[in-house]
């Protein structure tokens, strides 16, 4: 094998050089951000928090990018481990799709059809649809599909909640790998095997696919989300996956090793927060329980899934509030064990992330509202800093995929975050006891 040496160490030096160049140019940029930002805090002694925040966030983002750069190397070595001796060339375990659905008469048909398009031995692939008490025509649609695909298995029961629907699928299937698929999401049949491949390594318990916005071109809201999905999967999840510790296996399409999920499934199902069951955040929560059990979770960059993203401000806001709520609850859950199970990741990633997400609303409030009103300091440098940090992300974004044209919307998304979304976490914290879904019923 050529380049054996590189593969063993897992580092491609020429690529690393190019990446270092990106980092350096980013550093240069960011260095100036910070210097200028330090000038806006009139006196360091008076405002060390806001001074440190800039360093903290910048360092965090740079460490994310560095980690994401090492993703390929880590992922490849995970697959290469001892192959070809240990694993068969063609790895095709039994796979089951579990698709919980609630009032999805329009989307469900395509989700199911796509699953059957996958080039996989028929006897090894099953599709289970859990109709969680739909009140529309979903039932009829599924029945028609069942005629077409006799192998489709259908569970139909009164509404029990998404977690229970998912759990039923896990229980019912006999497959080794269970792919959890949102009712409005589809797998890309051509890249499906990439989602399954990491399971060759017995240490891997769950794999998350790359989620893409199916309706990206609908309007500016969906375009922004397309760029945000790109960053959150290809940079942030990739960075987490470098250490085999993806914290949120996206609900739109993730595959689980059944035997690893079953021991924690009741903990997951009976999750409570402040005396009430947690209805959303199923994906993030299940991942946490797996991590707590010491399992490995990875992200497969080449396995693609498409999902429908909110196309109106109202829907987007409801989704964001739900995500933020589940993040608050899950951060408390995960913080309690992660430093024991994954000390490195906890120190270098998880706790900084928690700190940033809870600090940001305060800093944003200070920069955008307090300082302009009380001290007459305009948040010009703060905004420039955010834009430059986004630019740094965009540099790597462009490096990853030169054909993706949604990157300009990342700046919009960052500004939206600054002016609006960062405050939502406060709202989410206040409304944490409201366990409704907002977009769909429980």
């Amino acid at each position: 094998m050529n380049g054996t040496h590189n593969k063993i160490i897992g580092l491609d030096w020429s690529d690393l050089f190019y990446k270092s160049f990106i980092i350096l140019s980013g550093l240069f940029l960011v260095f100036f951000v910070i210097l200028f930002k330090s000038k806006t805090t009139t006196d360091f002694q008076l405002e060390p928090t806001f001074f440190s925040y800039a360093i903290f966030v910048t360092t965090f983002e740079v460490s994310r990018i560095i980690s994401a750069m090492l993703y390929n190397s880590s992922f490849k070595s995970l697959l290469d481990e001892s192959r070809p001796n240990k694993y068969p060339e063609k790895y095709q375990p039994n796979v089951a799709f579990v698709i919980p659905c609630l009032n999805e008469e329009e989307a469900i048909s395509e989700s199911i059809t796509q699953c059957f398009k996958i080039d996989y031995p028929e006897d090894k692939l099953e599709v289970i649809v859990v109709n969680d008490g739909s009140t529309d025509n979903t039932e009829t649609v599924i029945s028609k599909l069942k005629n077409h695909y006799p192998r489709l298995r259908v569970i139909s029961w009164p509404n029990q909640g998404k977690r229970w629907a998912m759990a039923a699928g896990f229980k019912l299937s006999n497959a080794e790998i269970v792919v959890q698929l949102d009712s409005d999401s589809q797998v890309d049949p051509d890249t499906f095997h990439e989602l399954i491949a990491p399971f060759q390594n017995p240490e891997v318990s769950a794999v998350c696919a790359l989620g893409k916005a199916k309706n990206a071109d609908a309007n500016v809201i969906t375009k922004m989300q397309a760029s945000y999905y790109f960053v959150s999967f290809r940079i942030l999840k990739a960075a987490e996956s470098t250490f085999n510790t993806v914290f949120c296996l996206s609900g739109c399409c993730s595959a689980y090793r059944k035997k690893d999920v079953m021991p924690v499934i009741y903990d997951w199902l009976s999750e409570n927060f402040l005396g009430r069951p947690v209805t959303w955040g199923d994906d993030r929560s299940l991942t946490s329980w797996l991590l707590k059990a010491g399992k490995r979770t990875v992200y497969a960059d080449k396995a693609i899934a498409y999902t429908v993203v909110p196309d109106s401000w109202k829907k987007l806001m409801k989704q964001q509030i739900r995500w933020k709520k589940s993040w608050i609850i899950n951060a408390l859950l995960t913080s309690r064990f992660i430093y024991k199970k994954q000390p490195f990741v906890a120190l270098f990633y998880y706790f900084p992330l928690v700190a940033i997400s809870f600090l940001t609303p305060f800093v944003a409030f200070h920069a955008m509202i307090y300082a302009p009103l009380m001290d007459g300091i305009m948040p010009m440098y703060h905004i420039i800093g955010i834009i430059l940090l986004t630019a740094l992300m965009v540099i790597y974004y462009r490096y990853l995929d030169k054909n993706d044209n949604y990157w300009p919307y990342l700046f919009l998304w960052s500004l939206l975050n600054l002016f609006f979304l960062s405050f939502i976490i406060a709202w989410a914290a206040i409304r944490i006891q409201d366990r409704g879904w907002g977009t769909r019923q429980a």
């Binding site: 260095f31 210097l35 330090s38 000038k39 460490s63 880590s74 470098t242 250490f243």
Partner: protein, 526 residues
Amino acid sequence: MHKFNLIIIKTAVAFFTVAFALNLVTGMSLLRDNFYFQKYFYKMQWDWAKSEIEFIKFYHGGFGAWLRAKKQEKPIAPNESAQSIPVLLYHGVIDDSDWEPDEVNISFANFKKHMFALKKAGYETITLNDYIAFSKGEKDLPEKSFLLTFDDGRKDSFFGADPVLRTVDYTAVMYVITGRSLDMSDQKSPFHLSKLELEKMIESSRWQIGSHTQNGHGDIIIGPDGEKGHFMSNLMWKEEYKRFETREEYIERIEQDLKNSKSEIKNVLGVKGISFAYPFGDFGQASENFPASREILPKLVDPIFPLSFRQAGNNQYPINYSEGPSLSKRINIASNVSAKDLLAILESNEEKPLDDKIYYIKDTDWQKSWGDIEAIDNALFVGNSEWEDSAMTFLGGSYLWKNYDVQASASIIKGNNFSISTRFKDENNYASCEYSDTRVVLFQRSGGIEKPFIEKDIFTNIVGRKTEVSMRAQNNWVGCYLDGNLIVSGNLDNNLDHGGLGFKVWDSTGKGVIIKLENLIIKKLP
């Protein structure tokens, strides 16, 4: 192998992250106070770039002309040597659209116009050493040389002036209140230049540093009731002893301050502070409780700072001759002085050659001591302003004149007395022919002391008609003429061996005055 790989990756990420964070923290704390990482540094660079472009437009009229001019040979600098040096005094240079003229500071835009206009008119700055050599008569400087000074060591004057100076290739002197700029305490003034900035100024070789006292730029208690007065020119009231400080204590206090400020400049900045600017231009003349300070101060300052500056009064030529560096005069440039005004001030103070016959009718040639001057149709009108009831004017650039004859047709429109002065140096040194209805007096004042005057009672009938008057000064003889006849004459004090021309008009009842002077002829005498 995967575990081994993961260890490498973790180490790399940990290393990069920690190194990055440490870099940021140390970099920031190191560079926070670095001159090149200050906001104003970039503003200065930007201002400089803009002023370079503006200067090319202003000086050459455009870029094409500039390129063509570059190919041509540079004009040769004037060969004639300067007989006098003007010293300009500025304070803050303010770049703020909200700022309103305050008499002390100048706007950035206006300052830029000043410097550009000076450059285009051929003026060049000189250094302190050149100035001292000139004032001692040891060195010839080219014509149109001037010294540029700034008082109070303000940040804004450096930030505003430096980009412009860089463009026009001028140098300047900054008078620093060392107690506020160079004290060892960490307290950083947002207003006064810091040690670091002063070092960079010196490094740029565009700036020289002088002393504006250590802590003497302010008021002290000068009386039992808490009255306040200038630090340098008053005796301090010692409240704990209920007495004024003694003369010796006063000398000790002033001397200590001067020495401290000199040594601070030497020790902190590593340059010699050879010059001193009196705070508020008060060298004792504005003393409230200790007039003797007028005599004492120069004696204290001169041994420590060979060159000292005051501000030029209205009754004196505001420029400097080779008469020693102590108490040199500076022209204070107020907010509302336009570039045109500034050029007019300098031009009017340029030496006027004493040819056989000259007419000086341009009103900008005449300096106002008080009152108003206006030139209308070849006649010079001298009259009182709102605030005074008399008027005095003298001809700029005539200080070095020696033997000459002045003739004029004088018509008193209002008032009843007027005089012609020759050998006028300032309000304390001049000779004059005073004309009133009933007599003509030859008066002289030297070193502030009135000399015995010569008078002749004569019915002159000067009010209400056009009178031909003239005054002649030749060597140490001076004579007053009326209608072509010598009325009085006498000998001059040795001190009055040279001096310029002036006119004064007043009214014995204090009702306001106007005199019209026509056919003004000045003749050089052997």
